[in-house]
């Protein structure tokens, strides 16, 4: 195939698509609008979380005396206090802090890949895409561990009135509090995790394209920018999930 493949000539008149009022390509603009629609989805999730939380009683007693009960909504740092390799040690929110750092770092390596793309620096694009794939996969691994721990639960579990004990969580019962708490945890972090997974798949695809020189022959690395927009949106969603699920 020759290097100068001629595509169909684009229309240049004002009224047949030759005008770009936003100074971005069609693909990038549509990525923005897709992300906007995706924001609607996550807003719906967060609204549901807020309403479910308001319908349940808040825990009123002392922070140290907190116990799991279906009577009240759990305090997040009493639920998410485990760390891999430190069994039974109370490290509130430490693991989720690590996950947040990993995702922010992956966002940085993504911008660095986009920046390298602007300079047509193929090697740098490859390098930073690989780092982003690595951090993205690390985040997914962390989430897998977090889910496993959430599902299997702690040794103490929650004692019910009839004397039986619940360990861990599923969609029907959970040891941490009202069933809706676990349901929303699975749905919200699961939906976000699916986005991260799709992002990693897209990153791997554009990594192969970069290595094969597809974008270099095309003359621009705009595809890296578009996937970058998606990747940053995933980071953005995590910032909100982190606040509303783990901090508030």
């Amino acid at each position: 195939m020759s290097q100068t493949t001629t595509f169909e000539q684009p229309n240049t008149g004002t009224w047949d698509g030759g005008n770009e009022p936003f100074k971005v390509s069609y693909g990038k603009l549509m990525m923005w609008f897709f992300l906007l629609s995706d924001a609607f989805t996550f807003a719906a999730f967060l609204t549901t979380y807020g309403l479910a939380r308001h319908r349940h009683q808040a825990y009123e007693g002392a922070h140290d005396a907190f116990t799991f009960s279906t009577q009240w909504w759990p305090i997040p740092d009493k639920v998410f206090n485990a760390f891999p390799g430190f069994h039974g040690v109370d490290w509130p929110l430490a693991f989720v802090a690590l996950m947040t750092m990993i995702l922010i770092l992956s966002s940085v390596t993504m911008v660095l890949a986009v920046e390298a793309g602007h300079r047509m620096d193929k090697n740098d694009v490859q390098k930073w895409l690989l780092w982003t794939i690595l951090f993205g996969s690390m985040f997914l691994g962390c989430q897998a561990w977090e889910w496993t721990h959430f599902i299997s639960g702690t040794e103490e579990g929650m004692k019910l009135a009839d004397g039986s004990v619940i360990h861990g969580a599923n969609l029907i019962v959970n040891q941490y509090g009202p069933p809706l708490f676990a349901d929303l945890f699975f749905f919200i972090t699961g939906f976000h995790g699916t986005h991260v997974f799709s992002g990693v798949v897209l990153l791997i695809l554009i990594f192969f394209n970069t290595v094969n020189g597809v974008y270099h022959r095309r003359g621009h690395y705009e595809m890296v920018e578009k996937v970058g927009l998606y990747w940053h949106f995933v980071d953005l969603v995590w910032v909100f999930v982190f606040t509303f699920f783990y901090l508030v």
């Binding site: 009022p21 936003f22 603009l29 807003a43 609204t47 606040t243 901090l247």
Partner: protein, 115 residues
């Protein structure tokens, strides 16, 4: 990220690669890490309450601004694109707040009616 415009043609065939401009990227990164650290400080050293939640939401919006403005580069796009993204988002936040307030009230009314 000074060279974000499509000026790639200038050096596409010369084979020369300009130096990376990464200062603002790392600056944004450190701002994001610092805000997250402040959030954790509030989580551990302040008693829960409406004020603490307001601080969390404020810091979250601050982080969101940096991610969207610098990492997603929206700050450097045309005014039209900025408004096209920002206006629906603001309306969405309004919807979210309205649903929470009205929904909580409605939920309580129904709950108390059947009590």
């Amino acid at each position: 990220m000074a060279s974000h415009s499509h000026n790639t043609d200038e050096f596409a065939h010369t084979g020369e690669i300009p130096k990376a401009q990464t200062k603002i990227i790392w600056k944004t990164f450190f701002i994001l890490v610092a805000i997250t650290a402040v959030e954790f400080a509030f989580a551990f050293f302040m008693d829960p309450g409406t004020l603490r939640n307001a601080i969390f939401i404020g810091l979250t919006l601050f982080k969101a601004f940096y991610i969207v403005a610098e990492f997603m580069h929206l700050k450097h796009e045309t005014k039209g694109l900025i408004w096209a993204i920002l206006v629906p988002t603001v309306l969405l936040v309004w919807l979210l707040v309205a649903l929470l307030v009205e929904g909580t009230f409605y939920g309580e009314s129904v709950f108390n009616y059947f009590k």
